[in-house]
Symmetry: C2
Subunit: 331 residues, 2 copies
Amino acid sequence: MSRSEFEIINELFSPLTLGDPRALGLKDDAAVLALPPDRELVVTADALVAGVHFRPEDPPDLIARKALRVNLSDLAAMGARPEGFFLCAAFPYSTCDSWLETFASGLRQDVETFQIPVLGGDTVATPGPLTLSLTALGSVEKGKALRRSFAQAGDDIYVSGSLGDGALGLKVISEEVSLSITNHREFLKDRYLLPQPRVALGLALVDVPGMGACMDISDGLVQDIGHICRASGVGAVVEMSQIPLSDATRSLLKASPELMDSVLTGGDDYELLFSARSRARPALAALVSALGLPITRIGRIETGAGVVVLDGIGEVRAFPKGGYNHCLGTN
Amino acid sequence: MSRSEFEIINELFSPLTLGDPRALGLKDDAAVLALPPDRELVVTADALVAGVHFRPEDPPDLIARKALRVNLSDLAAMGARPEGFFLCAAFPYSTCDSWLETFASGLRQDVETFQIPVLGGDTVATPGPLTLSLTALGSVEKGKALRRSFAQAGDDIYVSGSLGDGALGLKVISEEVSLSITNHREFLKDRYLLPQPRVALGLALVDVPGMGACMDISDGLVQDIGHICRASGVGAVVEMSQIPLSDATRSLLKASPELMDSVLTGGDDYELLFSARSRARPALAALVSALGLPITRIGRIETGAGVVVLDGIGEVRAFPKGGYNHCLGTN
């Protein structure tokens, strides 16, 4: 790195505060934040390591944006409004200036899109792989944070968007599967490299009457419904035929039906998974129009424990132990 | 690692929440924190990489405790009360169970000592060196946070404790210098491996009438006074003869006077550096007795810019460009 670490902070990261006075210009020992008395803070932290959570050769702007978006997705899962984030970045000694500039410009793009300023952090050099740790802060009205433990027997289970695209996008990028249609290929790659955190949906769900549990899908649908079931002390039944799929994923599944396991357990969706009493249906239907985002009912919460997936003819589907284990924090 | 990452969190890190309900049992997407309406949040983040910020062969309990203490020192510098922290840890694939257990037990010791629970984080595996990123949260009465920019011409400059021990401790550990007296050797090693964050002092300084700027010394005395001068738009004169030294450092300097450069610019002190109007002197004297911690006046803030160090006979001391550059975040 030809820039000193002071220069990296001053030239590349200071603009990412968006002039937020709470960052104290990244020039003090810490940031100082006040919250209105009717709100509380939501804090999430995620670590990403090159070669484990993303490929070192991925475009640096997309690496930065994905790292931020994964954290935004956690805030969305709690129904929180983004307030700011702290970035601890360990850059390999070999990191060149242009790489850093592209990284910072990608981050800037999302900082502006989601209006989530950098409030602080740390920049260090490492002999190892690029390692990014983000701590994102959001806020919710007091007592209104969405939680994994709020599911009740009888709830409908919903997911936003379409599932499986991220996991299949990774397979496309790593050439494990091939897709002849360029649009489909690019769509899936993009879904892997640049997840869409459902911030607006999370904010809206907070006010849905009859809202139940909520989380974002990062480990895989089946594993993550399992998290909700354990947290809420309930079981779940999922109708596989109801799982929302993109055209690209549908065309891949047509050729290779066994890829359905990746849809169910592959992870990297960053869609919201939530439950709600049946009285929430009208409010949720209104949200679909208001946000222009599909929300699909895929099953129901039941008494008991564990997750059952029913295939198209109502048989219980068996599949390999669900979910991947690379990333097992409180995310 | 024979434990899964779920087991690491459940068995080793969950107890570190001290049962704090804000951590949501490390089982949700984020932690949720409310603050009383008269307080605001102070947030700091630091990254530490094995081989850069600590030696991989250092005792794991001390690695954990130092990582936490470095962040506690930043909270102390802002006059903040510790509220909790988030740990993103990238553990090398080769990390064994007993190493992890010792790491967690060290962390637990300091979590209890400083009453700062783990509120969340992320645990991942890395092909690279151990990388720890901590984000620590504290709180202060609204508008009361100590800042680097609050120095005024005419202020006295103070430091807590004794300086140079950490930098010389590292030289002792890495056998760059030798010390025949066992007690001195162990004292300096300990000062390097286990800094003492001045949390109680920071909390007390908030209420000192005539208090000026404050920060903790991590880069080195001269470089850090430079930070205060730049943030406050002032200059500083330091009397080298007034810098408080431990017996161990004094005995090293007797044999090798050139080590004074390490005292002035070596860093790793984690003492508080602050300025105050002269009317603060009685309150500060009272603090010395109340806390049992030396506070020493080492110079004064002046109009202008830059830091001048006067040696024992009042001559301006020249020394190599101050401060080390490994760790240049907002810490």
